[in-house]
């Protein structure tokens, strides 16, 4: 495991920003972090980077303690904050020069290459850059390193569609190069198409972890009933969940390969059958709709 947290908590007086978060991120995977505003995603990331100290629990990156060995952690981590602010009086070249001097393994030519891919004019002063351009510059700073861990907090915020696609390509290239990426985003489609695993955070708690590979094998089948259906065959019982009937329509959920199911479905009295992937939004909604602010069911 490259990242390991154990009962990691952060409290500000009576307010709990993160509550007993235990998660593990494997080396070489893209790990997504999902949650609404104020869920605790950024708190978790900032605890890893040593900006804030935990109230309890522990966190380790590449075996280094995030509190006592923060310098070693940051030497192995490239971090893009959710609100990346750069020096207004500098231009893009000066910013890239500055950060390449701060981090010995950062390659200036690589940073320039990322900036070119993102179509960024580095000759412009930061004060005269748009929000999207500053985000691109910050991405060039972060993705120029060859650190084993890359943490990106809302990396595609304020980016045009072309740049967004480039960023996702860069994230996948990082994984292909053996690096680990933690990707925090509100955009479910990006998380779904890029990540290997995802954790859902709500009200400071880690409420669910999901493998995207397993998720892609899950499907929802909805249809109009034209007659009664019997029990699910025993061979398929472990992978099929039958939902309730509403207005003559029924929903079934398949958690594994569809192929074994199709034969049985063909025998059922169904009409207007729709088969669609469950999708991350359904998983996300299951933990964020009809729930109280404390994450418990309302």
């Amino acid at each position: 495991m490259l990242v390991h947290t154990e009962h990691l908590s952060k409290r500000y007086g009576t307010f709990t920003a993160l509550d007993g978060c235990s998660l593990q991120v494997r080396a070489g995977e893209i790990f997504g972090l999902l949650g609404p505003n104020g869920a605790g995603k950024t708190t978790l990331l900032r605890l890893l980077l040593g900006y804030i100290r935990p109230s309890s629990g522990s966190a380790r990156v590449a075996g280094f303690d995030c509190v006592r060995q923060s310098l070693e952690v940051r030497g192995r981590t490239a971090y893009l904050p959710g609100e990346a602010r750069l020096f207004r009086r500098m231009n893009g070249h000066m910013v890239l020069d500055f950060f390449s001097r701060l981090r010995p393994e950062c390659r200036r030519d690589r940073a320039a290459g990322v900036a070119r891919r993102l179509d960024l004019d580095c000759g412009r002063q930061v004060a005269r850059m748009s929000t999207g351009m500053r985000q691109k510059l910050a991405l060039a700073v972060v993705l120029a390193t060859e650190s084993p861990l890359v943490i990106l907090d809302e990396p595609t915020a304020n980016l045009d569609p072309t740049a967004r696609a480039e960023v996702l390509d860069l994230v996948r290239e990082a994984r292909a190069a053996g690096r680990t990426v933690i990707f925090s985003s509100h955009v479910l489609s990006e998380v779904e198409e890029t990540c290997d695993r995802v954790a859902i955070v709500r009200a400071g708690r880690l409420v669910h972890e999901q493998s995207l590979d397993h998720l892609r094998r899950r499907h929802r089948i909805t249809a109009r009933l034209t007659g009664p259906i019997g029990a699910v065959p025993a061979a398929l019982a472990h992978q099929v969940t039958v939902g309730g009937e509403t207005d003559g329509r029924i929903a079934l959920e398949a958690s594994d390969s569809l192929a074994p199911l199709l034969g049985w479905l063909a025998t059922l009295p169904l009409d207007e059958v729709r088969i669609e992937p469950v999708g991350l939004s359904a998983v996300y909604d299951a933990f964020h709709r009809d729930r109280g602010a404390d994450g418990r069911t309302a």
Binding site: G50, R74, P81, E83, R85, F98, F99, R101, L102
Partner: protein
Amino acid sequence: MWNTAIWRKTWGDQRGLLLALGALWTAFPWIYIWLSSQIPMPAFQDVLLRAIPQDWQKLSGVPFTEVATHAGRVALAFVDPVVVLAATVWGITRGSDAVSGQVERGTMEMVLAQPVRRTAVFVTQALATTVASAVLCGVLFLAVWTAIATGPWAGKVDPLRFVPATLNVFGLMTCLAGISACVSAADSYRWRTIGILCGFYVFSILAKLVGRLSQTLSWVGYLSVLNAYEPQRLVGDPAAAWPLLTAYSAVLLGTGLAAYVTGAVIFSRRDLPAPL
């Protein structure tokens, strides 16, 4: 404890203010001495020694007989607002930008995402500010020297008498920068840091005045760091100048250094809020 990239960036950050104050302190001694020379010494002595009540000497801190000399008149430049306020502005501005300024702007987030120690960031900035303070004081002394040597009072004043006074200015700048950096280390808003330091400065002025004017409350003066800023005394008595300067520097530089150390400890341990 040192970082070259931070050193270069800090010099870039302070370059504008450094050049502005450098230009001001280059021009000011010339203008001041020329303006002062427009009032003939006998007229000046007349006003000072006869027209102004001698009780007012308490405000001066040095006897009017010392002020009513060419060296004393030049020494007045070191307590002129152009020098004192500029030194104060420098110290508070540079110190407040050390942490709270960067936290408020959000740039500290990207810097501390890099493998650089917080103490290295803080100490490198402190060193850059201190060296720049020394450069400014060097500019001030050279300007005083050349203004005396080539101005209307050439031959009447020894420029070397103003070395201790210039070093006293350096002590003041370092003291205020250190205290400002210490407050900045604990704060997240630069405007609040500046406000606290302005309040501290006003308190220091008032405490010094109360200490000077009241016999029963003379101890209040010791609550003010400005009690150790006495360039006129350093000019007025050359024989006692260096021992006095040592005592003043112990207070100013000692306070500044203690404040910097405290600030470094605070900064290295505190939580940093995310940029708004």
